[in-house]
C-alpha cells in the first residue's frame, strides 16, 4: 500500500515560502494498491492528486467529515467534470440530512457556480457511520470519533498493511483528558496496532489547555494515543495554519527531547510518499 500525502494543513490553506516545506494544502491523502486508488478527504490538496497510470473509470473519495477544509478541493477535481468517470463519495451520515442534501449546500450557487446535479460524472453518494465496506483491494472500517459534527475515522486494510486516518479528533475531551482504558478511548478501534497512524496534532500541550472542546488534539495526546493503540508509526496531521516550517521544526526538536513512551512520530509533510508494503 502506497500512501501519498497531498495536504496536511488544518482549517485553511496556507500558501507561502514559510510553509513550503511541510506544505500549506488542507487535508488530502491517497492510497494506492494494485492500481486501485482511494482518496482520503478532499481538502485543497486534492488538486495535487494524479490518477493511477492504468486507466480507471472509478474514483472513491472518503470524507471524514464535511468541514470546509476537508471538502474545499471537491469542486475543482477534474474527474467530477468527466462524463466517463464514476465518482463515489463516502461520508458520515447525519441524523437530520442526507449527504446529498449537505453537499448540495456547498456545490451550488452562490457558493459554487455549478449545481451538483449538473456535474457530468456519474456521481454516487454513500452515507456511512459505523460501517465496513470494500473498495477493490481495500477493506475499510469507519467509526464516529470525537469532533464537532458527524465525523469518522477510517481504518484501511490493504494486502499487507493497515493505515489509520483520524485527521480531526479530540480524544482527550473531558475533565481529566484521555481515559486510559482502551474501551473508553474514542478512535481506539480505528488505530489499534496500525502500521501508520495519521492523527490530528494541531496544538502543543500548552496551547491545548486554551482550546479544549475545539475538536482537535495536542501533539502530546496524539503520542499518548499512538502508544496506547500500539501503532508502528505516527504522523502528526492537521498542522495549525498559523505555524511556519521553522516553528514546526522547533516544536519537533523540543518534543524529541522529552521522554515519551512512544518515539516513532514526526510531522506529516505534503508531497511525501510512504510505502507500507
Amino acid at each position: 500500500m502506497k500512501v501519498s500525502i497531498k495536504g496536511v494543513r488544518g482549517s485553511i490553506p496556507t500558501a507561502g515560502s514559510e510553509t513550503s516545506y511541510y506544505g500549506g494544502n488542507t487535508a488530502c491523502v491517497t492510497l494506492l494498491e494494485d492500481d486501485w486508488m482511494i482518496i482520503l478527504d478532499a481538502g485543497s490538496g486534492l488538486q495535487k492528486v494524479t490518477l493511477p497510470q492504468k486507466p480507471t473509470n472509478r474514483i472513491d473519495i472518503l470524507l471524514t467529515h464535511l468541514h470546509f477544509d476537508h471538502i474545499q478541493g471537491l469542486g475543482f477535481f477534474g474527474s467530477l467534470f468527466d462524463p466517463s468517470k464514476e465518482v463515489h463519495i463516502w461520508a458520515p451520515e447525519s441524523s437530520t440530512q442526507s449527504l446529498n442534501s449537505r453537499l448540495n449546500r456547498f456545490l451550488s450557487p452562490p457558493f459554487f457556480p455549478v449545481m451538483m446535479r449538473d456535474l457530468p460524472c456519474k456521481l454516487f453518494l454513500h452515507d456511512i457511520s459505523k460501517s465496513s465496506f470494500q473498495i477493490g483491494p481495500f477493506s475499510i472500517e469507519s467509526k464516529y470519533v470525537i469532533h464537532p459534527g458527524p465525523t469518522v475515522g477510517y481504518r484501511i486494510t490493504g494486502k499487507n498493511a493497515v493505515l489509520a486516518y483520524i485527521p480531526d479528533h479530540e480524544q482527550a475531551l473531558g475533565l481529566s483528558g484521555m481515559i486510559e482504558d482502551k474501551k473508553w478511548i474514542s478512535g481506539f478501534d480505528i488505530a489499534d496496532k496500525a502500521d501508520l497512524l495519521l492523527h490530528d496534532a494541531q496544538y502543543t500541550g500548552y496551547e491545548y489547555k486554551e482550546k479544549i472542546g475545539w475538536g482537535h488534539s495536542s501533539m502530546e495526546d496524539a503520542i499518548k494515543f499512538a502508544a496506547v493503540a500500539e501503532v508502528k508509526r505516527l504522523l502528526f496531521f492537521h498542522h495549525d495554519p498559523s505555524r511556519t516550517d521553522e516553528q514546526l521544526d522547533i516544536i519537533f526538536s523540543k518534543l524529541k527531547q522529552k521522554d515519551f513512551e512512544f518515539e516513532n512520530f514526526d510531522f506529516a509533510r505534503e508531497g511525501t510518499d510512504i510505502d507500507l508494503g
Binding site: 447525519s94 441524523s95 470519533v145 470525537i146 473531558g174 475533565l175 482502551k182 474501551k183 478501534d189
Partner: protein, 131 residues
C-alpha cells in the same frame, strides 16, 4: 477489544464533570460506568469494581416506594428506560446495605446515537429537599 461508541464515551466524560451521582448502563442494564458521587450510593469504587453485571449492582441497594414497601424493578426509572427507550423520572427511597434509608429523585434517559440506535441509558440521582 471493541471500544464504546462515542455517545457513551461523551456521557462518561460529562458524568466525570458533575457533582451529581450518574450511572451509565449498556442496553441490557449492565453498569458500565458510575462517577465518584455515585460511588457514595453504591459504597463501591468504580476503579475497583469496573463494570458490574445488572444482577450484581441491582442488589447493592433496595428501592422502596412511598409506603416504604419494596419497589419492583419495573417501577424504577432506569429499568423503564431500558424497556421503552424513553426518559423517566421518579422520587423514591433507597435502603443501602447498611440499613440507611434516603429519599432520592432519579431521572433516566436513553442514549440514542446519531444512527437512531439505542446504545444505553443514563440515570442521574438528584437530591430531594422534601421529606
Amino acid at each position: 477489544m471493541a471500544s464504546h461508541e462515542i455517545e457513551i464515551i461523551l456521557n462518561r466524560q460529562l458524568a466525570d464533570c458533575l457533582s451529581l451521582p450518574v450511572f451509565i448502563t449498556d442496553t441490557i442494564g449492565n453498569l458500565i460506568f458510575y462517577n465518584e458521587p455515585a460511588e457514595l450510593i453504591l459504597g463501591t469504587r468504580y476503579g475497583e469494581t469496573g463494570e458490574m453485571k445488572v444482577e450484581t449492582w441491582s442488589t447493592i441497594f433496595k428501592p422502596l416506594d412511598e409506603e416504604r414497601n419494596p419497589l419492583a424493578p419495573e417501577g424504577l426509572p432506569l429499568v423503564q428506560t431500558l424497556n421503552d427507550q424513553l426518559p423517566h423520572h421518579r422520587v423514591f427511597w433507597i435502603e443501602s446495605l447498611t440499613g440507611k434509608i434516603e429519599k432520592i429523585s432519579v431521572t433516566s434517559y436513553p442514549i440514542i446515537g446519531r444512527m437512531g440506535k439505542f446504545l444505553g441509558a443514563v440515570a442521574i440521582f438528584w437530591e430531594t429537599k422534601d421529606t
